[in-house]
């Protein structure tokens, strides 16, 4: 007869407020096979865990069921406690009577009855549990970092400094991300290039970092410790080994009027270009869409129309016939650090649930720019060499109006969250502007100044003290009126409608994940929320991990985040990976499938449905070596434990440990016994 211990947790009063925990413990006590049943205020606490350990010893329990929160929360905690008391951890399971019972029902009687059913189901299941040993698999001690912004750079450096190899993949021609576009950074106003460029060079020169710029992740196979990732190195049409970054080709290129992405459309660049002077790698890329030669080839012209850059290059590094290359890398862990992009107020939106700002002119009013464009205006390496000038006519604006919360905190436009950093960078922008234009007046339309970091609120107060006029309220409409932009707003503090003539308007637009994040997340089989931000494993306890073992997350791709937090998060992800790589082998949950050789008929349906190729063929021979039959066999190292094979096997010869048919049937029976 089984001797199972049932431990019902009050979770303070989170459970006991709606579920009569004593009644549950009492009901379970009477269930056949339950040797010990009690309830306690905090099962996950130290005394709670020692309760379990004491019961295992005294009552000689061969199974433990803890009725408390979700297994996602504390399954590991209680299994470790059971293991320390000598019980095989996989004989310990949790019944979720908090998230899926006490918190979602208020009728005490129904909640208690449901809780009893839930615990009975797990008890019946545990009766059929087998002791299992974790599976040890080798770990490839190499990491893949996707995204070369400040988060990706920091993660790569930390992992590489920790002695492991890193493959850093960056979609753009150069690493640096949005930080490289900034002029100064809050709250200390130090120049962003000065603190970023050394890190970028460090990445480029680091012996253990393999930088694949102008590349994207194509596909991924395998699992924690044993990923195989295919990376598409987009054709640069410049041979990296030959080019020394002299830049002559970019000077001679006839196509000079292409809007520069790096300058957020304010500056221009050539067809063969390096995004910005401190680019790493400092190797140009040919923009196929705008290069005369490629446009000619696309039209099927026999003779090449241009070729100036090839002729100019003294090292023969230009190669118009270069193709995309697919590179495969074996890695043990992955960091997603793809960063953010800014919301735009235009009529056409990249996502179906987003709407633009018709009341602000859908982005067609000249001199209405966003934060990054203002950064480029303020940046010494920007199109105006640091002078604040209007994009339309180059005049120095005397009144600049900054609008906070554009897109953010605006459910009508499809984004409910606050983008966290705009209050800070708008205060920064007002200071940059007032430093450069002494007789200029900065006006900010805000709702709440959110500056919760270290030295942050002092920073915004300084901006206000230095003359920025902060008006509390949203703007209802903006329109062009001759030379100026009419801004119709309201100041709820003074209770007046305010109409301003602005020479320039800067919109603090919302932070969104990069376009295409959904397809990358699906490639890595990582879940994401309705905005496309990657879902962390647990918002408080496991913020840098995802639910997919071996895939970590850092920076603004997980939620709006400023530079200090992104760097901290990157280092956290790196430390998680270094601890993963610290032991030679990785122990993995033993929830894998096993084949019953006696009943397997070798139909191999399981092989057909197994996505991971974990099914191998094994010949069964008699003592004389004659082949009796060929049966399926599971490679424990590769099997991920999804169980699809078991549901497909016609002869029920393959069983997934921990989720066998017997266990599921017994759980069903428990409800109606």
């Amino acid at each position: 007869m089984a001797r199972i211990g049932v431990f019902v947790c009050h979770c303070g009063e989170n459970i006991s407020r709606t579920v009569d925990t004593a009644a549950v413990a009492q009901a379970l006590g009477e269930m056949p096979g339950v040797a010990h049943s009690t309830d306690y205020k905090y099962m996950c606490s130290d005394p709670g865990q020692s309760l379990i350990q004491a019961a295992i010893a005294e009552q000689k329990l061969d199974g433990v069921v803890v009725a408390a929160c979700s297994p996602h929360m504390h399954e590991k905690t209680f299994r470790r406690a059971a293991a320390n008391a000598g019980l095989n951890p996989f004989l310990c399971e949790m019944a979720n009577i908090r998230e899926q019972c006490s918190w979602i029902h208020d009728d005490r009687e129904a909640a208690t009855a449901k809780a009893i059913d839930l615990v009975r189901m797990i008890v019946e299941k545990v009766k059929h549990n087998q002791p299992l040993q974790p599976i040890h698999i080798p770990v490839t001690r190499r990491a893949l970092v996707i995204g070369g912004g400040i988060a990706g750079i920091q993660a790569a450096l930390d992992i590489a400094d920790g002695g492991c190899e890193v493959v850093l993949v960056e979609k753009e021609p150069s690493i640096g991300g949005h930080m490289s576009q900034l002029s100064e950074t809050f709250p200390t106003l130090d120049c962003s290039q000065c603190i970023l460029t050394p890190r970028m060079v460090e990445v480029y020169q680091h012996p253990r970092i393999k930088l694949l710029s102008y590349s994207e992740v194509e596909s991924l196979e395998g699992f924690i410790g044993n990923f195989k990732v295919t990376i598409r190195q987009k054709a640069r049409f410049v041979d990296e080994s030959k080019c020394n970054g002299c830049g002559d080709c970019t000077k001679k290129c006839p196509q000079k009027k292409i809007p520069s992405e790096f300058d957020a459309g304010l500056g221009t660049r050539t067809a063969i270009f390096v995004p910005f002077p401190q680019a790493v790698p400092n190797i140009p890329v040919i923009d196929r869409a705008n290069c005369l030669l490629f446009k000619g080839r696309a039209k099927g012209k026999k003779k090449d129309v241009c070729g100036i850059c090839a002729r100019t290059c003294t090292r023969g590094a230009i190669d118009y016939d270069q193709e995309d290359r697919l590179v495969t890398e074996e890695v043990g862990a992955i960091v997603v650090a793809t960063g953010y992009q800014l919301y735009t107020i235009g009529k056409i939106q990249p996502k179906e649930y987003l709407r633009g700002y018709g009341e602000y002119g859908y982005g067609e009013i000249p001199d209405v720019i966003d934060g990054l464009q203002f950064e480029r205006l303020a940046s010494a390496s920007g199109p105006t060499a640091g002078e604040i000038r209007r994009p339309s006519d180059g005049k120095v604006p005397k009144t600049v109006v900054f609008l906070q919360c554009i897109g953010s905190r605006d459910p009508a436009k499809g984004i409910e969250y606050c983008s966290k950093i705009c209050c800070m960078y708008v205060a920064k922008h007002t200071m940059l502007y007032q430093h450069k234009v002494h007789d200029g007046q900065a006006v900010v339309f805000f709702m709440d100044v959110r500056a919760g970091g270290k030295g942050y609120d002092e920073f915004t107060r300084r901006a206000m003290n230095e003359g920025a006029l902060y008006l509390r309220g949203r703007v209802s409409k903006m329109y062009r009126d001759g030379e100026v932009i009419k801004v119709v707003g309201y100041d709820t503090l003074s209770g007046e409608q305010i109409v301003l003539d602005a020479d320039m308007v800067v919109l603090a637009t919302a932070m969104m994940p990069q376009l295409g994040i959904e397809s990358l997340a699906q490639t890595l089989s990582v879940s994401y929320d309705q905005y496309g931000f990657i879902n962390e494993a647990h918002p408080k306890l496991r913020p840098v991990e995802t639910n997919t073992a071996g895939v970590f997350v850092a920076g603004a791709c997980q939620a709006p985040r400023d530079i200090p937090d992104s760097v901290a998060m990157a280092s956290a992800a790196a430390s998680k990976i270094l601890s993963l790589f610290s032991n030679a082998e990785l122990s993995r949950e033993p929830m894998v499938a096993h084949v019953n050789p006696a009943t397997c008929t070798g139909c191999f349906h399981c092989e057909r449905v197994c996505h991971f190729g974990a099914i191998q063929r094994k010949e069964v021979r008699d003592r004389q070596g004659n082949l009796i039959k060929v049966i399926a066999e599971v490679n424990e190292g590769v099997c991920q434990g999804c169980g699809t094979c078991q549901a497909t096997c016609p002869s029920k010869s393959i069983e997934l440990a921990g989720f066998t048919d017997a266990q599921v049937f017994s759980a069903i029976n428990a409800i109606f016994a």
Binding site: H72, C101, S525, N547, F612, T644, I668, F672
Partner: protein, 166 residues
Amino acid sequence: MSTATTAQQKPQAEPLADPGLKPGVAEGFEPKIIAFVCNWCTYTGADLAGTSRIQMAPNVRMIRLPCTGRIDPLFVIKAFERGADGVIVSGCHPADCHYAVGNYHARRRFAIFRDLLEFLGIEPDRLTFSWVSASEGKKWSEVVNDATQRVKKLGPFAAYQSLVDK
């Protein structure tokens, strides 16, 4: 100027008798529903409904499985045989599956299985298939509440029970 309006109550729509409820079904019938859910998406979504304190009907008992690919049609039949009034099968949205293809197998398998159950005479409304992701706590509560309402309308699953008891 205007003629005095006759004293007339605002028209109250009198409570409609619930046409769906079978005659003779006890008003207080509370269906028992089993839900087979995948651990990575729907179970986590249900946890999110918990942390967000989204209230829902208490009729559903949830069994956690690694993937909808693991959910064997036999589980559904076993649930009905043992006395369940309704069954929910729910997992990750297509392309979101943690094991990449588990939910595709489930979708194909249960498309055929649903027709079989209909053929056997089980009212289709007793069965609910849904995709609920890890961030759709609200949607999970709607799946639970809808399924409970539908099954409550159909009344207890007596047909199968009588067969088994015979």
